[in-house]
């Protein structure tokens, strides 16, 4: 048991912090923010490209990825440290997301050599084309189709809530390749450029728009997207893994997506923020910090936030040992989002009316951060597997609980 980081890891963290202090400007953060509603060119902007070059030189990119594909072959924990520090500065350098692990596990040698280095360097970024109007939690219900036509596939259909589709260079698409097979069979994964003809992106504005949410808001994105496919032709080489094996391939990335610095931080940043607000010399914060009830509540929530941190450390420990999750990732994905809601709603009843003022309003608290957070925190319990489904998984995979009669009949695991 070791709850600390090695001296080398602490040194790495300091180095990254120093780098960020010296190099990360507000303009850079603004340029790299994929959640603002504004249309902009796909891929990295000039400042982002410069940043990636700099951090690439320091060996911080793709630390845990194999060196033959441009990574450092290093520790997942080191990578976590770098990711956390950049995220705390408002920059998501780990845009490798769900793509890279699946490409490494299921991709052809050619795909690996093409995509992994580019993902690491930030030249390629994927948006996740999973959800559809009738396939959300029940993803396997998807209808978007890919029909083989010689050396090509022809894609038709629609994807929804495709975050960052307007700025990503590529899509990581789940589509149905066999209509006759049962729900979970007959699905395949494709990776291809967003500028493929026939592909259209339309904005979906979220309730965080107008005014848009301040930096660091949990689910503060002002926009997501719909993506339409109208006879989109892609080469068969865009297929990732075996045809009709996409359910398995697609699931690979998701577990890892549910843990890590990103999931952890969006659930606990408000804990740090509110305590630091209470410690500040702002009149409201100073007054509240004297309330025993507020003190009791922030202590309780702080403890919950520590649990988020510890669960993330547990997941990292498992990954670092090369083990697989049985339920630990799902457990984290229950605890952290629900904590995020609790802290957000508790803060409402500390701040009172000032807490209800949005970004840009006179008298808003921290430029409306907490008010916007109310609109976003619960989203973390819905996206990428709802807490309900995650609890099912903890019970069934972790504790061996039986499937219900109904689900068994329908073949749901």
């Amino acid at each position: 048991m070791n709850f600390g980081y090695s001296p080398e890891q602490e040194a790495l963290r300091s180095e990254v912090q120093t780098f960020i202090r010296d190099n990360v400007t507000d303009e850079l953060v603004e340029e790299m923010d994929i959640h603002s509603g504004t249309d902009r060119p796909r891929g990295r902007g000039p400042l982002g490209q410069a940043l990636y070059r700099q951090i690439g030189e320091r060996g911080w990119l793709g630390i845990a990825y194999p060196s033959e594909y441009g990574g450092q072959g290093g520790s997942r924990i080191d990578q976590y440290i770098v990711e956390e520090e950049f995220l705390r500065a408002g920059i998501q350098i780990s845009m490798i997301g769900s793509g890279a692990p699946a490409i490494l596990a299921a991709g052809t040698e050619e795909q690996k050599r093409y995509y992994i280095p580019r993902l690491i360097r930030g030249e390629v970024s994927f948006c996740l084309g999973f959800t559809e109007p009738h396939a959300g939690a029940d993803l396997a219900n998807l209808r978007c189709s890919a029909v083989r036509d010689g050396d090509e596939f022809v894609i038709n259909g629609q994807k929804m809530y495709t975050t960052s589709a307007h700025v990503s260079t590529h899509i990581y698409l789940m589509a149905r390749t066999d209509r006759t097979a049962s729900k979970h069979k007959g699905i395949s994964i494709f990776i291809f450029p967003m500028d493929t003809p026939g592909l259209t992106v339309r904005p979906l504005w979220t309730i965080q728009n107008n005014p848009s949410a301040p930096k660091f808001t949990t689910y503060g994105a002002a926009r997501t997207n719909e993506v339409f496919f109208d006879d989109v032709r892609i080469p068969a080489s865009a297929l990732l893994g075996e045809e009709n094996d996409g359910w398995r391939v697609g699931s690979m990335g998701l577990n890892l997506d549910r843990v890590g610095a990103g999931r952890y931080l969006i659930s606990v940043r408000r804990d740090e923020d509110i305590i630091n607000f209470l410690k500040s010399d702002e009149a409201l914060g100073a007054r509240l910090s004297e309330s025993e009830v507020v003190r009791d509540k922030v202590a309780e929530l702080w403890t919950e936030a520590q649990v988020c941190r510890l669960m993330t450390m547990r997941s990292m420990s498992i990954v670092e040992r090369g083990g697989a999750f049985s339920y630990e990732g799902s457990a984290e994905k229950v605890w952290a989002p629900e904590h995020g809601v609790r802290i957000s709603e508790s803060i409402m009843q500390m701040l009172g009316p000032h807490g209800s003022l949005l970004r840009g309003s006179p008298h808003s608290v921290q430029d409306g951060l907490y008010a916007h957070n109310v609109m976003g925190s619960f989203q973390s319990g819905i996206n990428h597997g709802s807490v309900q489904i995650m609890r099912d998984q903890v019970a069934r995979r972790g504790l061996g609980m039986p499937s219900s009669r109904g689900n068994k009949a329908a073949g749901v695991k």
């Binding site: 939690a137 007054r287 409402m348 008298h363 808003s364 109904g406």
Partner: protein, 396 residues
């Protein structure tokens, strides 16, 4: 004892719901969100014709002298349709004026309020926005035959819509209430942007002169009247929250019946059913707490405890209910073009207004623990009877 609605109450509620459902589509709500005026004048005129503006005002001033419970039912229906109407502040300020204002002031303004021609609001909160007398720093300096107001008020509801505002300020004698023209010289405002996207303002008073007759009640010692006003605003806000939550929850129940996942409606999953059951239970409980408090006010019984119970409960549980509704809706509830957020944002914002749960629970604890004698549920522990609203009703 019968805590269910009687026939007349059902009628009031149904008529209000009928009017609002016919005349207040969500497109109107969205339009008004973007309109600095902050309310829908046509909708307001119709409501005034139905008598809502003067429901609880004296008959001699054109009102209907109805119990507050009836007004609460109307507020519930307004919440249900999230109708952009300034009824809450106008009713609260005008009832306060009717109770404590001088004859001249009442004769001049109340008939116009009752007819809907004049809209009132009130201004109490300042930088420290708690429901406490010591938070009022605004001054009213006596001079010649009037007062000069200086200070800044926050979170003033529907100021842009209002013709007159009941302002709480500190004279040498203590807290006092003044009825002020909203466009009096020396007043400037800034719009606040709330989660509800309804209209709340910062109102600045710089040497604003008001005549002596603008004083409502006596100069100083007005805290009991002010607290009564704040309590009334609080409990009517609860009624509005209950209505909004009802509709919001029903949207989730309906959605859960039609949205399918894993081969069945999501409403067939026990976890979703239990979320829905809780939402219904919370809304029922909030409604019972709210209307018991309103009923007690109508009876002239002490209701401070009941009002604080209702608001603290609404703050916590109705927020949880509308959050559950968002969760049941999944991604679509997060989309601007889908209507659900119109309710969610309002209930959330309202849960932060008129006293946090912490403030209200502190008052409940005071009444419970700092009073003499033992407590027993169903037996009043409040220290002193409030002023009766409808004295002709016998006390039960």
């Amino acid at each position: 004892m019968d805590v269910l609605l009687d026939e007349e109450e059902e009628m009031i509620a149904e008529s209000a719901r009928g009017y609002l459902e016919a005349n207040c589509a969500t497109s109107l709500v969205r339009k008004v969100e973007a309109d600095p005026l902050g309310y829908a004048p046509d909708l307001w005129r119709g409501a005034a014709e139905l008598g809502w503006a003067g429901m609880c005002l004296p008959e001699e001033h054109g009102g209907s002298e109805m119990p507050l419970v009836y007004l609460g039912l109307v507020m519930r229906e307004i919440g249900r349709t999230v109708a952009p109407l300034p009824l809450l502040p106008s009713a609260v300020a005008s009832i306060t004026l009717a109770r404590h204002g001088g004859a001249a002031l009442k004769d001049r303004h109340l008939p116009q309020v009752a007819s809907g021609e004049a809209i009132l609001t009130w201004a109490f909160f300042e930088t420290d926005a708690r429901l406490r007398p010591e938070t009022v720093k605004m001054t009213a300096r006596e001079e010649d035959d009037g007062f000069i107001l200086n200070g800044r008020k926050l979170f003033v509801d529907h100021y842009a819509a209002a013709d007159l505002c009941l302002v709480v300020a500190r004279t040498e004698a203590g807290l006092s209430l003044f009825l002020v023209d909203t466009d009096a010289p020396g007043i400037s405002t800034r719009e606040l942007v709330t989660l509800a996207k309804d209209r709340q303002s910062e109102v600045n008073f710089e040497n604003v002169r008001v005549p002596r007759e603008a004083l409502v009640g006596q100069a100083g010692d007005a805290w009991p009247q002010i607290e009564e006003m704040l309590d009334l605003a609080t409990i009517l806000l609860c009624a509005q929250m209950v209505g909004a939550t009802r509709k919001d929850a029903e949207m989730a129940f309906d959605y859960a019946k039609v949205r399918s996942a894993f081969g069945q409606p999501i409403g067939a999953f026990q976890s979703v059913q239990h979320m829905c059951a809780d939402m219904q239970i919370w809304a029922d409980a909030a409604e019972l707490l709210t209307f018991e408090a309103l009923w007690r006010l109508d009876q002239g019984l002490p209701a401070a405890m009941e009002i604080s119970q209702a608001k603290s409960f609404c703050n916590d549980r109705l927020e949880a209910a509308v959050r559950n509704s968002q969760i049941i809706h999944g991604g679509i509830g997060f989309m601007m073009e889908f209507d659900l957020h119109l309710w969610f944002r309002r209930v959330s914002a309202w849960s932060m207004r008129m006293g946090t749960s912490l403030e209200h629970r502190a008052r409940i604890a005071e009444l419970l623990l700092d009073s003499p004698g033992q407590v027993r549920l169903g037996r009043s522990v409040s220290p002193a009877p409030a002023v009766p609203v409808t004295p002709e009703l016998t006390e039960v």
